[in-house]
């Protein structure tokens, strides 16, 4: 089973994805974006959130959900440090001595950590072992039709230090000003989850775990997505820049084989996704498509998808 979710969310004055700092100025991530204006294409720079940032948040939620279902999570991932068995030092914590066979290495990692099972890993030693992530997440980008209204704006803040004359060095000021660049936009992003990849070897395509364990891990993976969207706990600087706004629309497609909802950056993404699914239905694909716009809240659409997956025996 394959789950694909298109999410639109409004975020005003957010600092969800900061990149480098230049002196006292911390910059928001920005990307070039093609927009059409008066029949002509032009490039504009818009605030964005990286897929890496969203993926990190998802995996943090996955840690919590996995632990609450008594599923294994390795020590590194428990601390939300997703090294992903990248070298001998980290792999030895799971299996020691380290086997020579890539298949055995994969089995050892998948058995001992849900996060590396669902989120993939790259063991970059000899022999190298790579496992693709079962979930995919796009950048969050402003919705096309209103991208020109997206802004990034530096906000001035001040930090104070109490200094007596003995601790004061040179011309250091008791007050330091700094700027945080905040973004404001209606964002859209896509999240996909390949439930068939969980607990299954990326090398042999054979199940590594028993059916019950696989189902429990799928449940954790779905709950983590639910929690991430429901709580809006993704991105950085939430302590003082929690975005003002919230999820405005969600479109969820559950299919037997990989299918990705049309990107929510397009205004007609729901209608287009529906049309594409109808074509697939004609080819014999069973699916569920549910959207939360207007009256329905996002949690209701996500719950509907989870209920459908449960009915289908996915978990």
């Amino acid at each position: 089973m394959f789950l694909s979710v298109g999410v639109r969310f409004e975020a005003n004055v957010e600092a969800l994805n900061m990149v480098e700092t230049a002196g006292n100025y911390s910059k928001h991530r920005r990307v070039p974006y093609l927009v059409e204006e008066d029949g002509k294409l032009k490039t504009v720079y818009v605030p964005a959130l990286s897929g890496e940032s969203l993926a990190h948040a998802y995996q943090e939620h996955l840690v919590r959900e996995a632990l609450s279902l008594n599923l294994p999570v390795c020590d590194d991932c428990r601390r939300n440090e997703f090294y992903k068995s990248m070298n001998k030092v980290h792999l030895k914590k799971k299996v020691n001595p380290i086997p020579d066979d890539p298949k055995k290495i994969e089995v050892a990692i998948v058995q001992s950590c849900v996060i590396e099972d669902v989120g993939g890993f790259l063991y970059a030693e000899k022999p190298p072992v790579r496992r693709s992530s079962a979930f995919q997440v796009s950048y969050a980008l402003p919705v096309k039709s209103v991208a020109l209204f997206a802004t990034s704006e530096p906000q001035l803040h001040a930090r104070h230090a109490q200094m007596d004359s003995s601790s004061k060095k040179g011309n250091a000021s008791e007050q330091m000003i700094y700027y945080v660049e905040t973004g404001t936009a209606l964002y859209g992003f896509t999240f996909n989850l390949d439930l068939n990849a969980i607990g299954v070897s990326a090398i042999t395509s054979e199940p590594i775990l028993n059916e019950n364990e696989i189902k429990a891990r799928r449940e954790a993976a779905l709950k983590a997505l639910f929690r991430m969207l429901s709580s809006a706990q993704f991105g950085a600087k939430l302590s003082r820049f929690f975005p003002v706004g919230g999820i405005t629309e969600v479109a969820v497609a559950v299919t037997e084989h990989p299918f990705v909802v049309t990107s929510p950056i397009y205004d007609d993404y729901i209608a287009r996704t529906e049309r594409r699914l109808k074509v697939l239905e004609g080819l014999g694909e069973k699916y569920l498509f549910t959207v939360a716009t207007g009256e329905k809240v996002p949690e209701e659409a996500l719950k509907e998808a989870m209920d459908y997956l449960k009915e289908q025996g996915a978990f």
Partner: protein
């Protein structure tokens, strides 16, 4: 390309501090907009770095990275920046050439400060 020496030196400074972001974005730009945005960001960052750099007795500025002293060149003059942006508007290849020069060794030893 000597007319854009100030920009080349600034980009080379970022390369020396292992920040390849600006030189890559300018060198790989397919149209003028990314060059303009990147140059704006690079100048903004460069000013901040320059203002907080160490100043030697002779007035030269430098920053320390991995135990090495990296001289901080002067801020590119306004006319040069304007000429560069105009040139990029008419030929994007200028941006690639400037970025390529910034990645090459300088023809003579550069020193920091208000040159």
């Amino acid at each position: 390309m000597s007319e854009y020496e100030g920009i080349v030196k600034m980009l080379r400074f970022f390369v020396q501090t292992k920040n390849f972001s600006y030189v890559d974005r300018i060198g790989n730009a397919l149209n003028p907009e990314p060059v303009e945005v990147t140059l704006h960001e690079a100048l903004r960052a460069f000013r901040s770095i320059r203002e907080s750099a160490f100043v030697e007795d002779n007035g030269r500025r430098y920053v320390e990275k991995d135990g090495k002293k990296i001289p901080v060149p002067g801020i590119p003059p306004e006319e040069e920046v304007k000429a560069f942006l105009d040139a990029v508007r008419s030929d994007i290849g200028v941006a690639k050439r400037v970025a390529t020069l910034a990645l090459a060794y300088p023809s003579k030893k550069e020193s920091g400060g208000d040159e």
